[in-house]
């Protein structure tokens, strides 16, 4: 919303990573507006359910279109919008629970289609809005309200998952660096295909990972985060696998395949060959 709305009573907790992601998305949309000259209403933000989904109501300044639907279904909704109106810039925002657990079934098909959208995943490793249950990215052994004796499943590795499923743009970022994150999101928006920007966005209430990410020299904690070295070849899938399988949280672009056409490009190519018949002509084919 562009100005404060007294009816809207949702708040992120102080220090929530989602503030930074919101800022980054605002920057990215403004950048795009300046680059393309297209108005803000050319952007559509499709949000999932959870703390992260509220981002669509909390955007400040000029307002894009928003879609705040049902849990887990951001990707097919985004496909509907994009394939209906290919000229729109479609951005998905969803949390790790929404995107990887209940919505996990949609990642593979959209990667195979190479749907031309940019998905920003806000990973806090916990279900925050329902007050702290275990999510796919919660670490093994973690005690949460739904895993009182410790989590017993292996944690998902989203970056490796996206690579395996065939996403054609994969970046990893941190909510604490909104300017840098905005650049990654802009690259994702510009990519002609399925772009994943996976963001570590810590939950200060249920899973505070700031120290883990940034490290703490005083306590002797090494940071998990590190910048991807400049010599990394983003077009090399093998190199990308090596990167995501190493310990630590790489920041930057991990993989980019610009050779595969997007769903829309393939569709246009195929449909150009299809015969176009009017309803009258189709009706004629059943006449006798």
């Amino acid at each position: 919303m562009s100005k404060k709305n007294p009816e809207y009573d949702f708040k992120w907790c102080p220090g929530c990573g989602d503030f930074g992601v919101r800022r980054a998305i605002e920057f990215a949309m403004i950048n795009r507006l300046e680059e393309t000259g297209l108005p803000m209403e050319n952007n559509v933000v499709v949000a999932g359910i959870g703390c992260s989904g509220n981002l669509v109501h909390l955007l400040e300044g000029q307002q894009p279109y928003g879609f705040h639907g049902i849990h887990g279904r951001t990707l097919p909704v985004a496909m509907g919008v994009k394939m209906a109106r290919p000229e729109l810039n479609v951005v998905v925002v969803a949390g790790d629970g929404d995107f990887l657990s209940i919505g996990g079934e949609h990642i593979g098909p959209q990667a195979a289609r190479n749907l031309n959208i940019c998905a920003v995943i806000m990973d806090n490793g916990v279900y925050g809005l329902t007050k702290g249950q275990s999510s796919p990215t919660t670490q093994l052994g973690t005690v949460t309200s739904s895993t009182p004796y410790g989590k017993i499943e292996a944690e998902a590795d989203p970056l490796e998952l996206y690579l395996t499923l065939g996403a054609t743009f994969i970046a990893s970022g941190f909510s604490g660096q909104p300017r840098e994150l905005a650049k990654l999101i802009n690259q994702g928006m510009d990519h002609e295909g399925f772009a994943m920007v996976h963001v570590q966005s810590p939950c200060t209430t249920y899973n505070d990972t700031y120290e883990l990410m940034k490290g703490n020299a005083r306590k002797g904690i090494e940071p998990l985060m590190y910048d991807i070295p400049e010599e990394h070849d983003v077009s090399d899938k093998g190199a990308a696998y090596n990167l995501v399988q190493q310990r630590g949280m790489p920041v930057g672009v991990i993989y980019k395949d610009e050779t595969r056409p997007s769903l829309q490009q393939r569709l246009e190519e195929i449909k150009a060959k299809a015969p176009r018949r009017s309803v009258e002509e189709l009706m004629d084919s059943f006449a006798f």
Partner: protein, 571 residues
Amino acid sequence: MQMRDFVVRFAGEGGQGVVTSAEGLAQASTQVGYHALTYATFPSQILGGPTWTQARVSVDPILSAGDDVDVLVAFNREAYDSHREEVREGGLVIYNSNDFQLDGDDRSYGLPIDELARSTGNNRAANMVIMGALAHLVNMPQAYLEEFVEARFRRGRANDDEIIDSNNLALKLGRDETSQSGFVLGDLTPPEMPEYPQVMLKGNEAICLGALAAGLDFYVGYPISPATTILVFMERNLVGEGKFAYQVSSEIESITALLGGGYAGKKAMTATAGPGFSLMSEGLGLGWMAEIPLVVVDVQRGGPATGLPTKTEQSDLLACMYPAHGDVKLPVIAVGTVEECFHGAVKALNWAERYQGPVILMTEMALAERVQNIHRPDLSKVQPERRMVYDGSNGYNRYQGYEISPMPLPGSPGAYVANGSEHDEMGDTTHLPSRHVQMTERRFSKLKLLEENEYEAENADEPVVVMPWGGSKGPALEAYNQLREQGVPVGWYYTMLLSPLPPQMLEELKQKELVIVPELNYQGQFSGILRSQGVNAVSITQYTGLPFKVRDLVERITEMNNSHRKEMVRA
């Protein structure tokens, strides 16, 4: 004996030509001016498995598949054993004597179908052998059949003549062989070619054409019997600028992609059957809540869960009307004939645009696969509607007020959040009691825009009336006609518009002593809905996976009418 009508059932293994024979007979008959209708069931496997199709040919327009079989064409022994008892007294069995031999049935004869077809040099002419045999039995002139062969096989190929000759020879061989058997059924009255233009369509094809005529832009779907043919048609034919047809990975993807397409301004539709419809439940609630136009076609099959995928039933009505949690009631249109499939699809798309929300178009297995000659729909009379679109500047409140308001489209000013959480006028989430009251009333008020007095009423002054819905219309109308001929005082009501019901019709029904509702489900779903709206309605139910027989309806309506009258006298 003069005959106005005859019914042939073809039974055998999937892949033996059961369906093509029945559809061929229907096409040949309509070509020369008869009316025809087929009724098909399929095995749930690709090849093999018992299957049968019935074709009814008549001098008059046809309402139902026909209660009694005049001729059974049995392709194998199992088919003979399963279907023999459906053949009426005095009817006949033609069996494929190249497959099995039959002794002791004096109303049967063997036709060496494969051998005769082979002898024409065209193995694919087997169904012409059968058609020749049938033509002899009802004394249909050979010229009619040759006319059909000419129309069907003259395609400008080098070997057209060869193909036509072999098919004509097949017709003749089937006819001669039958003539030697000594059997005849009667003389089919010569046809009267209808004066109006005709098309020969399946129910699902008619839905596709109706949707295209109404301006469909966007179709997504997932394969499921008996709705798959709609997806296949759309993938092939919904092409061109701004059009999109696509197979997605589940019905959850179907409904949510549809929501995205409808939100972005497209006329969007999908088709599914029971299991897929259940998966769409949450998405349909979102469409109602966020006010997004879209159409879901439910091609009903039998039973809950996987149920009876290839049988017919009318048991999804409550699910279609109340598909989701919370206060939701969706508009429902249910079609009863192939012609209505076309017009119902047009109306469903128009309704979705008009009230800005999801509309359910209900049809059923027996209609989906039925081939029938119908009056060609006049496309110039189709009036596609378009939603009210917002064309002002930014700062608009999309959900303002208690009634419908213009809808902004992405890309243009008027940005808002389409929200499945309860929301304020801008689409932001809220929990204010007064807001929930306003928005709930707003959503329900829009249904008033769909109240139309489109219904059939005949002998409407009778205190007892018959009122079927959906595909039970045909057999119920045939039963009603017979009852009137017998002097039974019952009236007739029918509408495609099940929710909201035509208000005028509802008022009239409330005045009736008894409304008899034939429907194919256990609970009597539609009569329950009518009773909840103050109509004294009682169902005639059937849940066999098969359509009603006219005879059964005549009997049960008569019984109900008699016992009602006795009660009235006692009172």
